[in-house]
């Protein structure tokens, strides 16, 4: 068989129906395909050969009549047919097809994955050895890239709220110790972005907890203490809940129950970012006080810092940004459950935001997450693959990250990998473009 995605045969019948057949053989003399039933030659209008041309990144087609067709094999399951007497155009097409395929196989067998990518996409060769010495230096480099090419006007963000992500227990402690202004300043300093114009804005919200790592979820006491402080400062608190393994079910139910009781007594509400459907089920009867927000682990999208090298993406510049939320019935269903706020990430593209209340996280975007912890596995076992459930997490993330080659703008934090979308902090027009799509809030992560 020729691999399914690079060769096919379409048989058009006289009644205009099309039969899709697998290409079993293709050489200079002719090509073969097979069918589950015997073919009536009299019914055939044309036989179309489709071969993928890598360089053009599309299929080439050649049409033939039924007259050259013959049966070459038959067994209990299929009939194999062959087309010969194909002509010069066919021979050139097939020669080119095999040449390109052979080249791919050669690179795949003889080169490194980096070289294969280089040959096929122009992915930079040799850059995968170029690392920052530590995360601080990596952030400095990113800051330099942002500030040296910064076209920012806070007025572009008019009507949008700025919120800060407080996604680690350490960071939350600092928030509880410092006034908001001083906390914001400290976070900007940590990211070497004090000179960024966004430092002139006043955050109106904080997102506490961590959408990815269960070990960074604050205790109820800390959540309530944060709520009280934020209330005094005129700031809204949003709680991010990571996905819930079965072993955390009782804790999660208790947290939700107690938080709901607290809000009932205060006659208040709190937004809760939900990252698994089980937690959504637990919130079903509680949405009068706990307002669910569709988290990024449920609002799935294709994300990869190497997207620009991907052949189809780079050729079409058409990003695969559609997802379930582009379906009206799906949005309606979520609305019935109380979800009208959607959380997104800016990953270099411009997702079409659906109508609703949209939250955009910048500048980091998640690409990969493990329910267990790859960072723990590296630190404890010396092997990222040796993962298991960690009960008393020593928080290696307080000291360590997984560094990635500089050109990728990628970092391993907590139990996840995150891309860094520099452009979200370089040009405020990027965010302004979302305004009409209903972007209400920007959540800024400053690690």
């Amino acid at each position: 068989m020729i691999p399914f995605a690079i060769g096919a045969v379409l048989i058009t019948k006289k009644d205009n129906s099309v039969v899709e057949a697998g290409l079993t053989d293709c050489n200079a003399e002719g090509f073969s395909f097979r069918l589950s039933e015997k073919l009536d030659y009299g019914e055939i209008d044309s036989v179309c050969l489709k071969l993928f041309a890598w360089e053009a990144d599309q299929f080439s087609s050649l049409e033939f009549g039924a007259e050259g067709l013959k049966t070459v094999e038959q067994n209990d399951f299929f009939w194999v047919y062959r087309v010969e007497e194909t002509g010069d155009e066919y021979e050139a097409l097939v020669r080119d097809f095999w040449k390109q395929y052979s080249q791919y196989v050669k690179w795949k067998k003889e080169g490194s994955p980096e070289q294969l990518s280089h040959f096929l996409t122009g992915y930079p060769e040799g850059e995968e050895d170029n690392f920052a010495p530590d995360f601080s230096e990596q952030k400095k480099a990113w800051s330099r890239e942002i500030l040296s090419n910064c076209h920012w006007d806070n007025a572009d963000l008019e009507g949008m709220e700025l919120a800060l992500s407080v996604d680690s227990l350490d960071m939350l402690e600092r928030y509880l110790q410092l006034p908001m202004e001083a906390f914001f300043r400290e976070r900007l300093e940590g990211s070497f972005l004090t000179e960024h114009p966004i430092s002139g804005m006043r955050p109106k919200g904080i997102f506490i907890g961590n959408s990815f790592c269960a070990h960074q979820l604050p205790t109820l006491d800390k959540i309530l203490a944060t709520y009280e402080k934020a209330e005094r400062e005129g700031i809204c608190v949003t709680l991010c809940l990571p996905c819930m393994q079965e072993s955390y079910l009782q804790d999660r139910m208790t947290l939700i129950e107690k938080l709901w009781g607290f809000l009932e007594r205060k006659n208040a509400t709190m937004e809760v970012v939900v990252n698994d459907w089980g937690t959504m089920e637990l919130l079903k009867e509680k949405t009068t006080r706990l307002i669910p927000v569709l988290g990024v682990l449920l609002n799935k999208r294709r994300k990869d810092p190497r997207m620009k090298y991907q052949r189809e993406y780079s050729r079409s510049q058409k990003a695969p940004f559609g997802n379930a939320l582009s379906l009206e019935a799906y949005r309606r269903r979520r609305k019935e459950e109380g979800i009208e706020i959607y959380s997104w990430e800016a990953d270099g593209g411009t997702p079409d935001l659906p109508m609703g209340i949209n939250i955009l996280q910048i500048p980091y975007y998640q690409t990969n997450t493990s329910q267990m912890c790859p960072l723990y596995a590296v630190c404890k076992e010396g092997n990222r693959g040796i993962q298991y459930e960690v009960e008393n997490c020593p928080e290696f993330c307080k000291e360590y990250v997984l560094l990635y080659p500089k050109h990728l703008h990628l970092i391993g934090r907590f139990n996840s990998l995150f891309g860094m979308a520099l452009e979200t902090l370089q040009d405020s027009a990027f965010l302004k473009a979302y305004k009409e799509s209903g972007l209400k809030r920007i959540v800024l992560t400053l690690w």
């Binding site: 690079i6 096919a8 995360f135 079910l249 089980g278 190497r306 991907q310």
Partner: protein
């Protein structure tokens, strides 16, 4: 052990179906990508989680599915179609429903689904089919399964990071509500969770988890780089090793005790000979399991028969 778990194996071409059925697979699964989907969306918006062009990883023509269906009538091993991409764009849903309808019409009526909107659309459409909840759907816990009971799933496929303890609790609590539970136990043990792996898996760029990394500090205190990822192989592994990329043979007794009904051997696109050997070894292990009176007896016999020279130590469950 009394719980007789069934083996479910992935395959990439019709030729592999009889091969794997003869090797001992009880059920099989594959992907199907129609030509017009392939031509329009390519790998950028794939129909399922096999996103390469140049390797035979799934069925690419409807006639191949018809041939496959004829084979299922002879070999009597059911086939499930994987429609398990993490997300689709709005215009793709009607196309997928049409694919589901065509498959059902020829008797292939079981599907693995990972996208909640597709679950909703299939249910709304009323197409009579069986739904298996993919491990790529997200975290699997009891309330999550209660949440998705409305789509009447026939099976839950646990993801690779579910612990056996969690599986056992979930199966016990969901008894009588969802009949079947499938767990991974061989090959392709990823560093990240499938449900939360949003990066590329195309021909021209390796998986993001295979890009080199270094363990580094947050700032310049102490030695900066502490560990460097191992260099990636230049080409795919040529030598066969049972469980070399992920192994759960030692966990079979506990998986059985937990109530798992099906064991998944992923491997769509793997070398056929390797997959065939995997299935034969898994069948051998299940036979030993059936005859064993205790976990100790099973482990001793299984290790002696299958791993006389030691194992890969790439354990699915620890």
């Amino acid at each position: 052990m009394e719980n007789e778990m069934k083996l479910v194996a992935g395959f990439g071409t019709v030729e592999e179906y009889p091969l794997y059925a003869a090797a001992g697979a009880d059920e099989l699964f594959c992907g199907y990508v129609p030509f017009d989907w392939n031509e329009k969306y390519g790998n950028l918006q794939p129909l399922n989680r096999r996103e390469v062009r140049y390797v035979d990883v799934q069925i690419g023509a409807f006639e191949e599915l018809c041939i496959l269906h004829k084979m299922t009538e002879v070999y009597k091993k059911p086939v499930t179609i994987a429609l398990n991409a993490l997300c689709y764009s709005g215009e793709q849903y009607p196309r997928i429903l049409s694919i589901v309808e065509r498959c059902v019409a020829i008797g292939l009526d079981s599907f693995i689904v990972a996208d909640p909107a597709l679950l909703l659309e299939i249910t709304r459409s009323g197409i009579p089919c069986k739904i298996q909840l993919s491990g790529e759907l997200g975290e699997i816990n009891t309330p999550m399964l209660e949440y998705f009971r409305e789509v009447h799933p026939t099976r839950v496929i646990f993801h690779r990071k579910n612990t056996i303890r969690d599986m056992g609790e979930i199966i016990q609590k969901m008894q009588g509500k969802i009949p079947e539970y499938e767990a991974f136990f061989l090959n392709e043990m990823c560093h990240f969770s499938g449900a939360f792996c949003n990066s590329l898996h195309c021909d021209e760029l390796c998986h993001l988890c295979q890009v080199p990394y270094r363990l580094g500090r947050l700032d310049a205190t102490g030695e900066s780089v502490l560990e460097i990822s191992k260099p990636r192989p230049f080409s795919e592994q040529e030598d066969y090793g049972l469980g070399a990329s992920g192994c759960g043979f030692c966990a079979l007794w506990k998986l059985g005790e937990a109530g798992v009904t099906h064991l998944k051997i992923p491997g769509r696109g793997n070398y056929s000979g390797f997959m065939e050997q995997d299935i034969k070894s898994a069948r051998q292990a299940l036979n030993i399991l059936k005859e064993s009176k205790s976990e100790e007896e099973y482990l001793s016999r299984m290790r002696q028969d299958l791993f006389p020279a030691g194992c890969s130590r790439v354990c699915y469950y620890r």
